[in-house]
Point group: C2
Chain length 184, copies 2
């Protein structure tokens, strides 16, 4: 099998208790009012430079519709939306896909892009972990307990050893944990 | 109401996916084989000095029995075990308690001790959060996804804003997040 210098990274923003969405889908909790003195602040330039490295986003259709409502944050970067529904897109570079996840990631995306980001929802990211399609997991933990909602990991039913790659704490109390899934 | 310079801290060791115990109760996952270059290492003296500041532990009866089996790690520090069972202790300074949590914490422990640690299980810690008896939460996240077991937070049913107090990453890939629960 050919290997590519290509990485699939899951990125999710989560509460401390592991929820990525509230039941009512409200998003105000994503804005922290906390203040962590030792935390870092990114400049617009830092963020732009970082986002430029991402070559392709993969997401479920609810995450896609949610992103549309909030104001599309992915610019012209290619986006694959997993869905069996008959959706049309007004956004450039959005493609819908209803086939097999393994062949999408391993045969279509990995040979084309080196930095692929999987940004939810939780069903899609869990399936990708179960199918060994994920290299890295980046979790941004907001300083809040939500107490209810949609769990990111839930009961994934599979043990995975991780390698901690980086930890960053931000001025607003958000903590970013970057892990690599260890291959056996 | 009188206030005391007293703090109740929950400390739990968790997997990245939020589990504090495996279904089979095995504990080998608590020993990390990961290596994080930028991580810190504590000396025996650091740990001893830190543990000396803890004046009282509170735990459920399963956590107590688990600690007994693994080799009692609490020395002669006072330990309160919540249980309705008729347990006897061979360990000095262990007391069993079956009454009300609020009166235990607010009327008995807080006036006596300034640094009280709540070390599980998850039912007890959740109840204490729900009853507003907790000041701080310290979570040590091991570099592993367990995929199943007992969730620490679970669906606690209550939203709590947090203040990030400290973040420490260790050489073995463990990350310690220290939060204060914001009082409204």
């Amino acid at each position: 099998m050919m290997t590519y210098e290509s990485k699939v990274t899951i990125h999710m923003v989560s509460s401390l208790d592991g929820f990525i969405a509230k039941k009512d889908n409200s998003v105000s909790w994503l804005e922290s009012s906390d203040s962590f003195d030792k935390g870092i602040v990114l400049t617009e330039e830092d963020i732009t430079a970082f986002l430029k490295t991402i070559q392709c986003y993969v997401m479920g259709s609810k995450t896609y519709e949610h992103a549309l409502r909030l104001g599309w944050p992915y610019g012209d970067v290619p986006v694959i939306v997993l869905t069996t529904r008959d959706l049309k897109s007004e956004i450039k570079n959005v493609q819908f896909y209803s086939g097999d996840l393994i062949s999408l990631v391993n045969h279509r995306l990995k040979p084309t892009y080196t930095n692929i980001w999987l940004v939810g929802g939780s069903k899609l990211t869990k399936n990708c972990i179960r199918l060994n399609l994920v290299d890295d997991i980046l979790i941004s933990i907001m300083p809040i307990i939500l107490g209810d909602g949609i769990l990111f990991f839930d009961y994934i039913g599979k043990e995975e050893k991780l390698h901690l790659k980086d930890v960053k704490a931000y001025k607003d109390g958000m903590v970013e944990l970057w892990y690599e899934i260890k291959k056996e």
